[in-house]
Structures are given as C-alpha cells and as structure tokens.
C-alpha cells in the first residue's frame, strides 16, 4: 500500500447535541485524545476539534463542534448546527428525560439542518449498566489502544442503572433513519465505532475536497461564498482608479 496515490480527503462538520451532562464533551475527548476525566467537565476551549478518520477509499476529516455549554440554558444558536453534515445526538442511558431531549434535537435537525445530514443517536454511560461491563472489552475500542477499558469490569456488582432499554431507543432510531450506538466515554466502548459509522454514511455527493480549516462549513454553497481571509491586495485595478 506504500505507493498508493493519496486518498481524497474531505472535511465534515459534525455537531454534538443533547442535554447537559450526558457526556458529549467526554465522547469528543475520548475520540480525539483517547482520554477521560472523571466527575469533571472536560474543557474543550476550541471553536472545534479536528480528527481524521481513514476509510478504505477516502479520508474524512471531522471538524467536531462542541456546544460550548450553550445547551445548559437552552441557548444554542441556529448557526451552530445549521451547516452540519453530521450530528451526534447524545442521551444518558440512566436518565429518561435525556432521551426526550434527544428526540427534540432530532426533530430540530430534520427541520433546520442540511437535507443530507447524517445523524447518530448515541446512548452514553453504558459502563453504568450491567451490559456495560461486558461491552467494555478493548476489542470494541477500534484502533485506539484502550488501557481504561479494563476499569469497567469492576462495576459488575454495582447494579444496573439503565433506565432506557436498547430496544426502545433502537426502535426510535430505526423509525427516524438514524444510526444507533450505545457507548461509554469512560471505557471507550463503541466510541470510535460511532464516528467511523458516520464517516461511512456520509453520502459521497455531499463531500468536497479540503480547503483547510473551516472548509466544512457551508460545503454545499461553495460557489457564491466570499473568503475574507483572502483579501485581494492587487485589487486596485478594479477600483475606479480612473
């Protein structure tokens, strides 16, 4: 494979949505840095994070936008999710209200986002359930070396905090045509799988080649857009310097 021509690479804007504290930022941190911070809000402090996902025929460069806490008081701006090509709508398996909130976000995306948007419904905190321990194996963690995975095994005895069955959520996801995963940002279980599945599901037609950071934004409307970063200093010929 060493001599193969470089694969086409495309930027995809991916947004996170869901109730506060379901683990959105933790999922990003796990995916991008393979890290987890217990009992602590991970600080993202970036407009977006980037992470590449290598598929057999192409490379997807995710620009992952976190809510920056604006979901806490229902204050997310439309500009946040309007141009997204992919969305992770996250709920907490141990918190029934969070699935209701997730359904609200799915409906909002279906109304407001780009028509071809790929949405994944993600039930997080699987490690707090009985099957979470079983699922915590390193095999589930894809290419990342997941040292933390074993930690989940200790929670067998802790009892099952699950409040939302897999069937219930899966049935809803199927009805709405969403990808569906149960994950643990804590153990890393299924996290990479979510992003890989999204990368695979992005229709080829909604992709375009990279133009650098920020390129994913408004990908569909390349033609009329003006790039303020490229000021044309030699423009004075067009000025009426009669």
């Amino acid at each position: 494979m060493a001599d193969s021509a470089p694969k086409p690479s495309s930027s995809v804007k991916l947004v996170l949505l869901g109730e506060a504290a379901v683990g959105k930022s933790s999922l990003v941190l796990r995916f991008v840095s393979n890290d987890f911070q217990e009992n602590k809000e991970p600080t993202i402090g970036a407009a977006f994070l980037t992470q590449k996902c290598n598929l057999p025929t192409r490379t997807i460069k995710f620009e992952i936008w976190d809510t920056a806490g604006q979901e806490r008081f229902a204050s997310l701006a439309p500009m946040y999710y309007r141009n997204a090509q992919a969305a992770l709508v996250v709920y907490d398996l141990t918190k029934p209200t969070s699935l209701i909130k997730a359904k609200h976000w799915v409906a909002e995306l279906q109304r407001q986002a780009s028509p071809g948007i790929v949405i994944a419904l993600v039930g997080n905190k699987l490690d707090l359930t009985n099957d979470g321990a079983a699922g915590g194996g390193a095999a589930g963690a894809g290419a990342c070396d997941d040292d933390d995975a074993a930690a989940a095994a200790g929670e067998d005895a802790a009892g099952d905090a699950r409040k939302i069955t897999t069937e219930e959520a899966k049935e809803y996801a199927d009805e709405e045509g969403l990808l569906f995963f149960e994950t643990s940002a804590k153990t890393g279980y299924n996290v990479t799988e979510v992003f890989t599945a999204i990368a695979n599901a992005i229709p080829e037609t909604s992709l375009k080649t990279n133009r650098g950071p920020g390129a994913a934004h408004g990908a569909r409307h390349e033609q009329p857009g003006i790039d303020l970063g490229r000021q044309d200093d030699g423009a004075s010929r067009d000025n009426c310097a009669c």
Binding site: A20, K52, D232, C240
Partner: protein, 499 residues
C-alpha cells in the same frame, strides 16, 4: 454544576444585539467571568433574523408595548391563500439587512478575531435607480448604476458627455482628501451634496440621482462632507475581496449571524449563555450591581452592560416593509463583471420625488429596496425577500407599498409570470441619541444605533469603550479583537483512526 448565584460575575451583558455580542467576542479570551443573557428566546435583538412564526410573535410583542420606545407600528400580513409559502423555519427575515462595505472596520475586526471563519459572506451586486414611467411610451425602469471604470465605459444609461463627467467625479472622490481637490469641495462641505454636483461638476439632475444613490443615505439633504466620505468608502471597497463587488452580506439573515458567531466565541471562552431571561430588578451596591433575573436567580456582578430601548427624539426613525415574493428575479443578480461571484443582494434606490401617493403627493425622502435572493438562505429557492426602507412619515407606509408595486412591475421576469407577495412584515424603528457609551457607575449602556442601508462603523466605537472600561489596566489597545485561531487541531497524521 455551580449555580449562577454562587459566582461573582465580572460582567453581565444583557441583550445579544450586535454591539453586546461583539463586546462578548472582544472579551472572549479575557478570562473574565461573563454571564450573557437575553430576554428574547433568540439571538440578535434588533439585529435578529426571524422565521415567520417568530416574526408573528415579535409583532405581537411590539403591539403589546414590548418594543421599548424603539419599535412600533408593527404588523404582519399573509394573504388568505397562502399557497407558495414554505414552512415558517425556512425563512430568516433580517431585522438588520445592512450590507457591509469591504473597507468597513467591522470586517477587519471579524478577520483579526478569526470570527469570520464561521460566517458565510455573499457578494452584494449592482445598485439600480428606479426611473418612473414618463409618458405612456416609457414604462418605469431600473437603471443600473455604474460605479467602476469598466461599468462607466459600458453603460448605456448615460450619454458620452455624462460618462466623462462621471469619470471625472469618481476620480475626484478617490482623491478628495488631497489639497487641490479639497479646494474644490471645502466651500461645499456643509452644503447639500447636490450643490457640489451641479455647481462644481455641472451635472444634470439625472446624473445627480445616480451619484446620490451611491451614498445609500436616507437623508435627501446629505451634506457634501458626509456624502463624499460614503461614496469614497463605496468606491475604494470595490474589488477588495474579489472582482466586481464593493460590499458583502452575511448569509442567513445579515448581522444576526455575526451576533450568533460572536456569542459562541464567548461561550467557547467560558461565557455562560441564557436566552429567554431578562433582568427583573437592578440595585447598585458596594462593588457592583445586584440583579434579580426573570429566571428567579439573584446574582451579583461587578459591571452590567445593557442597551437602551429608548428612541431619542429628533433622531432618525425609519419605516420598513419586508416582503417575501414567489419570484427569484434572477436578472437582478447577474455578476457585474466576468469572474465575479454571483451576487445575492441588489439595491434599488428611489430618489426623492420618484414616487407619489394616491393623492398625488411626491415622495420627499428616498426609498431603498434591498432584494435578497434565496442564496442568502433567507427564503427557499425560487423566492426572494425584499426589504424596503424609508424615513418614517405619515405617507411612508403608502409610499413603501407603491415602491414595492413599482418594483414588482419593473423587475417582473416576463409579462406572463404572475409575481405575488407571499407575506409582508412592517414596522417603524427609532434610534438613540448618539453612538457614545453611557456610563453610570457600574452600569454601561449602549444607545440604540441608527438603522441604515449600509453598515456604519460608528456602531463599533462604543463597543471598544465598554471593553476598555471592563478590562481597565489589563486592556492592551493593540490586542483589541485580535486573536489567534482556536481550532484544537489534533496532531494530524500520526493520530488517524483506521477502519
């Protein structure tokens, strides 16, 4: 999570209009504890963009007296047969559809703060002058205004002699601060621009109308000093960001988008956001202000920044009519020169005197119509949004209606096509006393800005004053709104997930 009252806030910003939002952007890397609230459940204040349903509730609130002293006489209209109108959320009706010139400091600041990367900008295309019908043989027409050398050469709108005058004038404007040119216009500085044009340049009335339109001013008597400054801004902006256009427009509802992007930047920096939350009561106390929020939270802050909702008497009041139509008016949005991006906005000027009421009274003020194509995201494909603005007066409502009808007639793609207005929104909007920031102890107040056709940089000055006040000794002038990129790029190639 820490409750709001546990935190001793450095600054509470009330309202998410453009000024408050740009202030939030300016403070986004300061490490200050910022709470940013808005009593509306949308961003943007008087610069918001609204879906149809939002617009209807906005109108009801104003009619119930909720517009402060700034907004009044609001109404929304839909025909009985509303076929053709898409779902409410497919529309973004801009309350501030201003175009922004390439040479505006706003764009400089959006670039230096890196906020521009999250906004999609579109080209503003040609301006046109509305020429009323004269005699039965000459129907009303839209005359494209030439504002580049190429356009002046190619236009058929003016005679060869007028072309020469126009060239001479445009050249003069670009150079109007040099001393020989100053001699020409200084005697006219405080006189109406029309005096300079007719006396120093020998221009006839028609040519004067073309030039006046380049000012995009609502004031028919704009003086020479101000008039030349804005025409110069227009001409020197030409070509800065690409060939064939001088101004740009943020997609999805104009300045609203800049407000949203600025607020997000502040949130990324740790600012806390609460929509649908206003201030119930304010009490100045030792070391700051005690606030009771409509959410029931009682909080303390060192400083409070807010915007006045009062209109100052004697300051301009505009009347606006927003109309969604079932036609895309494609021919208005042709690029001015080859290789130019396709414009999404076109401006049509109706000089004073070019419209009249049913009673036969001629218009005393100019009217401007900004036509937005669906490329702005403000309406679905195949439709357009028209924003008409003039100074408020007893005749203004009728004259805007006439301007709209005249436009639909003159710009109609073909005699067969039936062009319909699908919905209309109208209101009056006042403005504050001046652009100076008002400081009363720990409370800083922005005065309402004057709604204009082109964005005016004077809006930016009080933001900087507020920023300095909040940061005190920590404020470094050269670093105002100057930030590096904040994209947490992972080490690219060695950290790729393989399938």
């Amino acid at each position: 999570m820490e409750s709001l009252s546990d935190i001793h806030w450095d600054v509470v910003i009330s309202g998410t209009g453009l000024q408050q939002s740009l202030l939030a952007l300016a403070l986004s890397r300061s490490g200050k504890k910022i709470l940013h609230i808005d009593s509306n459940d949308f961003y943007g204040g008087t610069e918001a963009s609204l879906g149809l349903q939002d617009a209807a509730s906005w109108v009801s609130r104003i009619e119930a007296g909720g517009g402060g002293g700034l907004l009044k006489s609001a109404a929304i209209w839909r025909p009985e047969d509303s076929t053709g109108l898409a779902a409410s959320r497919q529309y973004y009706l801009a309350l501030a559809p201003q175009v922004v010139h390439a040479r505006s400091r706003l764009l400089e600041q959006l670039v230096s703060s890196r906020a521009y990367r999250q906004v999609e900008f579109l080209a503003v295309g040609s301006s046109y002058v509305f020429k009323p019908a004269s005699e039965p043989t000459q129907p009303a027409a839209l005359v494209r205004i030439p504002s580049t050398r190429e356009e002046v050469f190619s236009t058929t709108a003016v005679s060869t002699k007028e072309k020469r005058l126009l060239m001479k004038f445009l050249k003069f404007v670009l150079d109007h601060d040099s001393s020989p040119q100053q001699e020409t216009w200084h005697p006219y500085a405080e006189k109406p621009l029309s005096a300079l044009l007719s006396e120093a340049f020998n221009m006839g009335e028609e040519l004067q109308k073309l030039i006046y339109t380049l000012t995009l001013s609502l004031n028919p008597g704009i003086n020479t000093k101000d008039g030349l400054a804005v025409i110069r801004r227009h001409i020197s902006s030409m070509g800065v960001y690409g060939p064939g256009f001088a101004a740009i427009y943020p997609k999805w509802g104009g300045l609203s988008e800049i407000a949203q992007v600025s607020c997000r930047a502040c949130a990324v920096g740790g600012g806390v956001y609460m929509l649908g939350t206003g201030i119930q009561s304010t009490e100045v106390v030792e070391g700051g202000v005690k606030l009771e929020l409509t959410s029931g939270d009682a909080i303390r802050t060192r400083l409070l920044v807010r915007a006045s909702e009062d209109a100052a008497s004697g300051m301009p009041v505009i009347r606006r009519l927003v109309a969604v139509t079932n036609s895309s008016f494609d021919s208005l949005f042709e690029p001015a020169v080859e290789g130019a991006p396709r414009p999404a906005v076109a401006i049509i000027a109706y000089p004073a005197g070019s419209l009249s009421t049913a009673a036969g009274k001629a218009s005393e003020h100019p009217v401007y119509l900004s036509a937005h194509s669906s490329e702005t995201g403000e309406c679905p494909a195949g439709q357009s949004v028209l924003y008409l603005t003039t100074n408020a007066s007893p005749d203004a409502q009728e004259l805007l209606g006439r301007a709209l009808d005249a436009f639909l007639d003159a710009a109609k793609p073909s005699a067969q096509q039936e062009v319909r207005v699908l919905t209309k929104l109208e209101y009056e909007q006042g403005s504050g006393g001046s652009s100076v920031l008002i400081t009363q102890g720990p409370i800083l107040t922005f005065q309402a800005t004057t709604p204009s056709i082109a964005f005016s940089d004077s809006v930016l000055d009080p933001i900087r004053s507020a920023w300095k006040k909040i940061l005190g000794d920590e404020a470094v002038d050269d670093e105002y709104l100057t930030f590096s990129d904040r994209e947490g790029a992972a080490d690219d190639d060695d950290d790729v997930y393989e399938q």
